[in-house]
């Protein structure tokens, strides 16, 4: 049987759509793993980036750390935490936690750098004007700097999200959850239709999430900013 027909047959088999190894279950795992990692990374990266951008303190350190973070191989980050996570929980310590930590480390740099660049790039005149009209520091950050930085911040979120979605397949190397299982098991069993079905599923998910993020980026950007950018072009 040639490969395209094999892939079609794989998708047509109802057995592949049910149970804990079925497409809906694996898709759900993949999304849950990615969302958890992204949420943790956002809590760390966006907060730190916005704070550094607002205060201007520790900017060099933050940018250097983010650049260093970009250099770290995700599989190696997963491996390096295994002795600790496996000691805490012999099951999830192998299958889930290393992947979550690896993906968090992967996502932080894009989130942090863009939050920093967005907030620190807000026109200083506007910040002065905000201060002059009696805004406190956190009000300047929350009501002025962050709304104006939203386009840049969301670009970072998009890039982090697509990196995380693609890299979440690596969880399967340690027997973890997600669509990567079809890739790893497909290769181990020389089941190429399963492997390529996995590639198609990852690609489709990737495209859908990209589309969704592009749309939410439009919706979340203040109409005033959209107008200003349209007028400037």
């Amino acid at each position: 049987m040639d490969l395209p027909a094999g892939i079609a047959a794989w998708f047509a088999d109802p057995g592949h759509w049910a149970g804990s190894a079925g497409v809906p279950a694996r898709l759900g795992e993949h999304l849950a793993l990615s969302a958890a990692a992204l949420a943790i990374a956002a809590a760390i990266g966006l907060v730190a980036g916005a704070w550094v951008g607002h205060t201007g303190r520790g900017a060099t350190l933050a940018v250097n750390l983010a650049n260093l973070g970009r250099a770290l191989p995700t599989l190696a980050v997963m491996g390096v935490v295994v002795p600790v996570t496996a000691a805490i929980d012999s099951q999830a310590g192998f299958k889930v936690w290393p992947a979550v930590i690896g993906l968090v480390v992967l996502a932080i740099p894009a989130l942090l750098v863009n939050a920093y660049a967005g907030v620190s790039g807000v026109d200083r005149d506007l910040v002065e004007a905000g201060r002059a009209s009696g805004m406190r520091g956190w009000q300047v950050l929350w009501r002025l700097e962050i709304p104006l930085a939203v386009p840049v911040i969301l670009t970072g979120v998009r890039s982090a999200a697509s990196q995380v979605l693609a890299t979440a397949t690596l969880a399967a190397i340690f027997g973890g959850p997600g669509l990567g299982r079809y890739l790893v098991e497909g290769y181990a069993q020389l089941n190429y239709p399963m492997m390529w079905a996995g590639v198609i599923l990852v690609g489709a998910l990737f495209a859908l999430v990209e589309l969704g993020l592009a749309m939410s980026q439009r919706l979340l950007t203040s109409p005033g900013l959209r107008l200003a950018r349209g007028a400037a072009v």
Partner: protein, 232 residues
């Protein structure tokens, strides 16, 4: 938790895998740079080709590595090509983006001045455009090298012959031996960080003029007006 004696007893093997890691990375960077340079220079001239070139290399970049590494096994067997072909394919997007950005950053004024002083097309390319594009090309080499080091760890999936330091991560997982996973992972991180630092140095050494602020001044990027009274 960690069996230090195992690590001390396997330094030879760690050394061999480090060399393999560096070997796969340097072959990939050399071949990827050569192919990308040709494609990028062509796309800068034939602007219509730029979109498709970026789109195709971008599409390749989105194929999960866990699928692309096994893909070449039936075609090239367990030769180095099986690992190097996907590694090169993944490097193209990073290289091409940076090389194109490098040539695009050459100011039109400078090109016109070169034409005005009688440079031939070839001489202008070699003596004006290439040196001015170098900072971004070298930045691309750094990004591609570091990304390749990460991907080499994943080539361990193909088989024990590959993986560089990632070999220990896969073998350690098969034997549920945490020390081996940890050792391979820590060494991979060390290698990535070391190569990154070396290439940053190289970048500064090769292009001492490329301090960002100076570049901005040299190519006339408008700076935000801040003080009062400017432009009056």
């Amino acid at each position: 938790m960690i069996d230090w004696a195992w690590i001390a007893g396997h330094l030879d093997e760690l050394g061999y895998r480090t060399l393999q890691h560096l070997y796969l990375t340097s072959v990939t960077v050399a071949v990827g740079l050569a192919i990308s340079f040709g494609l990028a220079v062509w796309a800068v001239r034939q602007r219509a080709a730029l979109g498709p070139v970026i789109a195709i290399s971008g599409l390749l970049y989105t194929i999960p590595s866990l699928a692309l590494f096994p893909f070449f096994v039936p075609l090239t067997g367990l030769t180095d090509l099986t690992a190097v072909i996907p590694l090169v394919l993944y490097s193209l997007l990073i290289f091409i983006r940076n090389i194109v950005a490098g040539f695009d950053a050459v100011p039109v004024d400078v090109l016109e001045a070169a034409d005005g002083t009688g440079y031939t097309r070839a001489a202008r390319f070699r003596r004006i455009e290439l040196p001015l594009a170098t900072p971004l090309v070298v930045a691309g080499i750094r990004l591609a090298a570091v990304s390749t080091i990460g991907l080499v760890t994943i080539t361990g999936l193909i088989g024990d012959k590959f993986g560089g330091l990632g070999f220990f991560i896969f073998e350690g997982y098969r034997h549920s031996f945490e020390t081996e996973i940890f050792a391979g992972a820590l060494a991979s991180i060390g290698l990535a960080v070391a190569v990154d630092l070396v290439l940053v140095r190289l970048q500064r050494r090769l292009t001492p003029w490329s301090r960002p602020a100076e570049v901005a001044r040299a190519i006339g990027v408008p700076r935000p007006v801040t003080g009062p009274g400017m432009g009056v």
